[in-house]
């Protein structure tokens, strides 16, 4: 299990969270992260237009906008979950890591619990909720030790 990074992009393309998920994750500076976040946001939108197959209404089966769902590279898998509200949860991992979809969905649930129900969190702003980051670390730990069961 080699989780690398998690980053979350809001509906306008701004980065609201980036978090290394393991020791093998390369350290990337904050400005780099902001660039990565907005670049991914634009590529996600362009990919839907460049695709030879157009989905009805340009929306995927989950009701979210069509766009990049997965990128497979030589040493990397990148998976993206976009919500109906335009928030994109992106996770990168070493090839061979399983359950990325389930982990992304679980992170979405944690976001809706710890960030959206927190009265001190402002929507679309960088997430500073301790509960959220602790829960993510806890989740990754559980997945790596094999104790994670999908809901």
């Amino acid at each position: 299990m080699g989780f690398l990074h998690l980053f979350i992009v809001n509906k306008s393309g701004g980065l609201i969270l980036h978090r290394p998920l393991g020791q093998s994750a390369p350290r990337i500076g904050t400005n780099e992260w902001l660039r990565i976040g907005s670049t991914f946001h634009s590529l996600h939108a362009i990919a839907a237009e460049a695709s030879p197959v157009k989905l009805p209404g340009n929306k995927n089966s989950a009701g979210a906008d069509d766009g990049i769902e997965e990128i497979r590279g030589g040493g990397l898998i990148l998976k993206c979950l976009q919500t109906r509200t335009g928030v994109k949860f992106v996770i990168t991992a070493e090839p061979g890591t399983s359950d990325l979809d389930a982990v992304l969905r679980e992170i979405y649930v944690l976001y809706s619990d710890c960030a959206l129900k927190d009265p001190f969190y402002e929507l679309e702003m960088p997430i500073r909720c301790e509960l959220f980051t602790n829960a993510i670390d806890n989740l990754i730990e559980k997945v790596e030790s094999g104790g994670f069961k999908t809901r």
Binding site: V109, D113, C114, K117, D118, F120, R128, L131, R151
Partner: protein, 203 residues
């Protein structure tokens, strides 16, 4: 998770309200007051007054439902009433502990390891000691005042010591979140007349 649902005088136990629904409504309540409060203590006071009215009504309702024929006149009995009957009616479980302060004879502590008012709340560092459970301390104050035991109730977030509270699954079963690092301690400070009256009744 159990909560009061308004069904008139007689109702069957077990009407559950979703924790998420409560969390969203409570989050809006906190944001509403935060927008109108000029300081942290004012925000806490606003949350406490919001809970106070609930406390007065909860006292009547719980006393009626538990078929209490005599109202409580002793300090320890009213504290037990709050930490078990009122807690059960509101949160579906009794409070985790009821303690008496060693240093002050007029102070008692009600402890809850998983208060639902702060299950999903992360207090930012610039709001320091704010406890989102101030609403519950308002409820407790309302119950005590209504029963004739005026008290000042405040909510505090205290770190949980290692091994103090062991959950078998290593976290919250309902929410799936990891175990909390802090517990809510409701400090109840009774007024002097209440203590004097209780001491007189002792004799």
């Amino acid at each position: 998770m159990q909560h009061y649902v308004n069904r008139g005088g007689s109702s069957s136990e077990g009407s559950a309200v979703s924790l998420s629904a409560f969390a969203y409504v409570y989050s809006e309540l906190v944001q509403y007051h935060q927008g109108r409060a000029a300081s942290i203590s004012e925000l806490e006071r606003r949350l406490e007054s919001a809970g106070y009215g609930v406390g007065l009504k909860v006292l009547e309702l719980v006393a009626y439902r538990t078929k209490e024929t005599k109202r409580e006149t002793r300090l320890m009995s009213i504290l037990h009433f709050v930490s078990s009957s009122v807690w059960k009616a509101l949160f579906g479980k009794s409070a985790d502990s009821l303690e008496r302060s060693i240093d002050h004879a007029d102070e008692f502590m009600i402890v809850d390891y998983e208060p639902i008012t702060s299950t999903f709340v992360s207090v930012p560092p610039d709001l320091g000691q704010l406890s989102a459970d101030a609403y519950v301390s308002g409820i407790i104050a309302g119950v005590l005042d209504g029963a004739g035991f005026s008290a000042r109730v405040t909510a505090h977030s205290v770190n949980v010591e290692e091994g103090e509270y062991a959950k078998p699954q290593g976290g919250n079963v309902v929410t799936g979140l990891p175990a909390r690092k802090d517990k809510a301690v409701f400090l109840v400070k009774f007024s002097q007349e209440v203590l004097a009256r209780d001491a007189a009744l002792e004799r």
